[in-house]
Symmetry: C2
Subunit: 195 residues, 2 copies
């Protein structure tokens, strides 16, 4: 069943022959990350692309005042990595941890490079995924520059509908760049407006 | 000489045979955009990837209060597009205009798709470019959430060293999300600190 999720994700973008699917699956390693456990530590080199099967991961930094800032979430069917570190193989700037017990598939950087050579269509697959991700960061950058906190909250709801009621509010607050108290008040105000 | 710039950009990432280079060049169409002229209008479908040879383009939106917010600049040797619109072929949300007279090469969406089929290595080329761009937006998103205006200014200087003294300060202010007056005061303060 776990294989189904990743194979469906791939087949939405490229067509693989059965022997290519089989080879691809040999490169993926199942792994469990416990709730609150760090999967990648800031300053480490990121050596894997991680595909989430169940649970939820998040990528974040901690600033010089000790405040957390969330770059992204990875619910099921999403890939996550510290892209800077994965691409350059230099120490990264992201922490990645689990918001709940999370099952993932790991694809090592070395195996990903092998995959590109053996099945060049995976260049296309990851090119398309990366473009999609880039589009969402273009949007988020403009939102951070131009939208109010309430509009940024609505944009979060659009990007991650499955997370609105499943993760702690403090994580959503950190993602949109406000305090949990401010988010809580804003949600109450929004609810009153719609009544 | 113009061909040299794009071919060097490509050969830094993938190796092409002479006949592949020749085919690629037939797909690129030289074009001039005059200073202040719009190259892409918000609401249009983006039909080209644009490679800058000389001059400078910028991508930006205008919010409901009429304020401009700059997503990116494209100095020489950079590609620019409204990625959302280019990928989905839906009306886009970006304006792209020229800060000075700008020479570009246009690669149409249709020709780019042909290119992927005829020379699949271009999947790799654009996958690598898109990853690089994604890394810079990861960084910018975290900067917008966690850095002070002064730190965001320094990050701009690192991303676009060639633009610090060549474009109007109001564009830099709009990129980092402050008013031109605030940027001007901040630059004076920074200068005084280093004296």
């Amino acid at each position: 069943m776990y294989n189904d999720l990743i194979l469906k994700n791939v087949s939405n973008r490229i067509h693989l022959e059965p022997d290519e699917e089989a080879y691809f699956l040999t490169l993926l390693h199942p792994f469990t990350i416990r709730r609150k456990q760090l999967h990648l530590h800031r300053g480490e080199v990121c050596r894997h692309s991680t595909f989430v099967l169940s649970g939820c991961l998040r990528g974040y930094t901690i600033d010089s005042n000790g405040l957390e800032h969330i770059l992204n979430f990875a619910p099921p069917d999403w890939w996550i990595a510290d892209m800077y570190s994965l691409v350059t193989q230099q120490p990264g700037y992201l922490n990645i941890d689990a918001l709940e017990d999370t099952q993932v598939l790991l694809l090592s950087k070395a195996d990903q490079e092998k995959l590109y050579i053996r099945i060049p269509q995976f260049e296309r697959y990851f090119r398309i995924l990366t473009e999609k991700s880039l589009v969402s960061y273009h949007r988020r950058t403009l939102h951070n520059l131009s939208l109010s906190a309430q509009e940024r909250y609505l944009a979060f709801c659009q990007s991650y509908p499955s997370l609105i009621n499943t993760i702690a509010q403090k994580y959503i607050a950190s993602y949109i760049g406000v305090t949990p108290e401010f988010l809580s008040k804003m949600r109450r105000d929004m609810l009153n407006q719609t009544r």
